[in-house]
């Protein structure tokens, strides 16, 4: 299981080989979504780039102004995490507090992308995993990413005293 610890110069993240491979894999999938043509009919895009306004006109003009920049921000954070993982093998790295905030955004985007793809609801998220459920592997990844997220939030709080 992943280990997240507060150390003198930041947050130490340790991931076993299998965990690292899973994380690299879902990061690469998200990167492909973000680098591709933004397809508004894709529910994942709809969730990562929500309409800011009820009115279609206002939502469209807001999106026109922000989508490129938001895509860039999301990709930049994603690449930072991807770089920290290295090309292969287990991970043992120290992430400074500011980059750790980018980790949180990326972990969140990953969970949103996977969960939205599966159309999960509160019930699915709170149920015990049922191994016969075809969504069980993806759900377990969401929960695992969530566990890492909780640990990083706690570590950041311990670091900045909030």
């Amino acid at each position: 299981m992943a280990d997240i610890d507060v150390v003198a110069d930041g947050i130490r993240v340790r991931l076993a080989r299998e965990e690292s491979d899973v994380l690299r894999g879902v990061l690469d999938e998200l990167r492909a979504v973000l680098r591709g043509e933004i397809d508004r009919s894709d529910a994942v895009i709809g969730r990562l780039f929500p309409d800011a306004y009820d009115s279609t006109d206002e939502a469209d003009s807001y999106r026109e102004l922000t989508t490129d920049s938001l895509t860039r921000d999301k990709l930049e954070a994603l690449e930072a995490v991807r770089d920290a993982l290295g090309p292969r093998g287990p991970v043992d790295t120290v992430v400074e507090p500011e980059p750790a905030e980018a980790w949180l955004r990326v972990l969140t985007d990953l969970r949103l992308a996977i969960g939205t793809r599966m159309d999960v609801d509160e019930d699915a998220m709170s149920r015990q995993l049922d191994p016969s459920d075809p969504n069980a592997p993806a759900l377990s990844i969401i929960h695992w990413l969530g566990w890492i997220t909780e640990q990083v939030v706690a570590a950041l709080r311990a670091t900045d005293g909030t």
């Binding site: 306004y53 920049s69 955004r105 969140t108 949103l112 969960g115 969530g146």
Partner: protein, 96 residues
Amino acid sequence: MTTTAPERVDLPGTGERDEPDRPWLVVVHNDPINLMSYVTWVFQKLFGYPHSKAHKLMLDVHHKGRAIVSSGPREKAEHDCYRLHAHGLWATLTKD
């Protein structure tokens, strides 16, 4: 816990709906995926709210389905909305 409506500050009277300087409201909606601890952290981080206020807003989002997390002129509200989207929160803007 939550006995009053969240952060409905500085709303003019209902007869003044078209007043031009009525603030825009930044609304965060509940979603099944985001974590409570993370959402609280985001409210603290983005808006500088103390933990107690951020936690209350998070609970409002969770239990009432939505909460107003900030307000102001359109430019500021859009900036807040952008930052919330960058953090994966489902945020919208409204004057209602």
